[in-house]
């Protein structure tokens, strides 16, 4: 409904109208040498340009994002089901972007999630991560791209630095600002960093309705794109492997409570 209201406001047309009237007033002010008309013209031109500059960014329906996000989860679900995996997902922190690595180790700069075949907490060897392998044998599991990596990249672009450069104690503040004020991805978030775990509570998250789909095992394992982006940020900032220990959805996805655990390799 809000989107429909927004669609009805032709902000670009108003800007061009102001710009046109302003330009005409400026020309007239020069002809009749009137300071009053010049002030009016200057102001209208300025506000016309300003409205064009600050016009709303493109908005899409939230449900569209939900449906788009569902596809990668169902793909991961099919893989997990086919390989009969019953393990957990581990967010493995990558090497910081500015660190030099030779070409054959460049894969270590990719943020990946390791989904283990069983409940063991054995992590994949560094060689497999460097080779960007998908299917791993020792330990058995798969390495996939986190569903929240796109969001994480967007966050990093917004703040202009890598999360690995952010101190873990400053992370809750940075993420709250990004998620609530900058991108309006949730109404409120609370992130608490403890020595061995982190607790996240999200109120009215954008991807909340994804949780209505109870069949998606990978959604519980990896978290929705927002939770996944937070897990990636925690992993990068702390430099530790992070797993989602517990995920609780309240009131059909209106509130999500997640407990992350730091895994010592």
């Amino acid at each position: 409904m809000e989107l429909l209201k927004f669609r009805k406001v032709p902000s670009e047309k108003i800007s061009l109208f102001l710009l046109g009237i302003g330009a005409l007033s400026l020309i007239e002010s020069i002809i009749v040498e009137s300071p009053v008309i010049a002030f009016i013209g200057l102001s209208l031109t300025f506000w016309g340009v300003l409205f064009l500059f600050i016009k709303p960014v493109r908005f899409v329906r939230g449900t569209l994002l939900d449906f788009m996000a569902l596809t990668p989860y169902s793909t991961v679900d099919r893989i997990i089901f086919d390989l009969n995996y019953k393990g957990k997902a581990f967010y493995i922190p990558p090497y910081p972007k500015e660190v030099y690595l030779p070409d054959h180790l460049k894969g270590l700069k990719d943020m990946v999630v390791f989904i283990s075949a069983d409940v063991s907490k054995k992590m994949p060897p560094i060689e497999d991560l460097a080779k960007r392998r998908f299917l791993l044998q020792h330990p058995r599991g798969i390495c996939v791209t986190p569903p929240g990596l796109g969001l994480l990249t967007l966050f990093e672009e917004e703040i202009g630095k890598d999360f690995s450069e952010i101190d873990i104690d400053e992370l809750p503040m940075s993420l709250s600002e990004l998620i609530i004020a900058n991108f309006h991805l949730a109404r409120d978030i609370k992130l608490e960093i403890l020595p061995k775990k982190a607790r996240l509570s999200v109120e009215k998250p954008l991807y909340g309705s994804l949780y209505k789909n109870r069949e998606l095992k990978s959604l519980r394992m990896l978290g929705d794109p927002l939770v996944s982006a937070v897990a990636c940020a925690i992993a990068k900032s702390s430099g530790k492997i992070v797993m989602i220990e517990r995920e609780e959805t309240i009131e059909n996805g209106e509130r999500i409570a997640v407990t992350f655990r730091f895994v010592e390799d």
Binding site: E2, F6, S29, I30, I31, E33, S34, P35, I37, A38, F39, L42, S43, F46, L50, F53, I54, K55, P56, V57, F59, A181
Partner: protein, 68 residues
Amino acid sequence: MRFPLSPSDISLWIAVMAVLLLLTSEFLLTSTGFFEKIIIERKRLRLVALGMGGAFTFSVILHALDII
């Protein structure tokens, strides 16, 4: 035919615009409730507001140095 505004007039106009924009951007950045739903590029607005403030300061400096 000449432009009817003097540099001092333009400086005054910039000051008024800077005050208006700084107040608006500050209000929009900290607002909650209804005003929170106004969908504009708040950061750009703030940038323009700061730019206008800077332009006014610059014009005052030029005045003080008797350049304009």
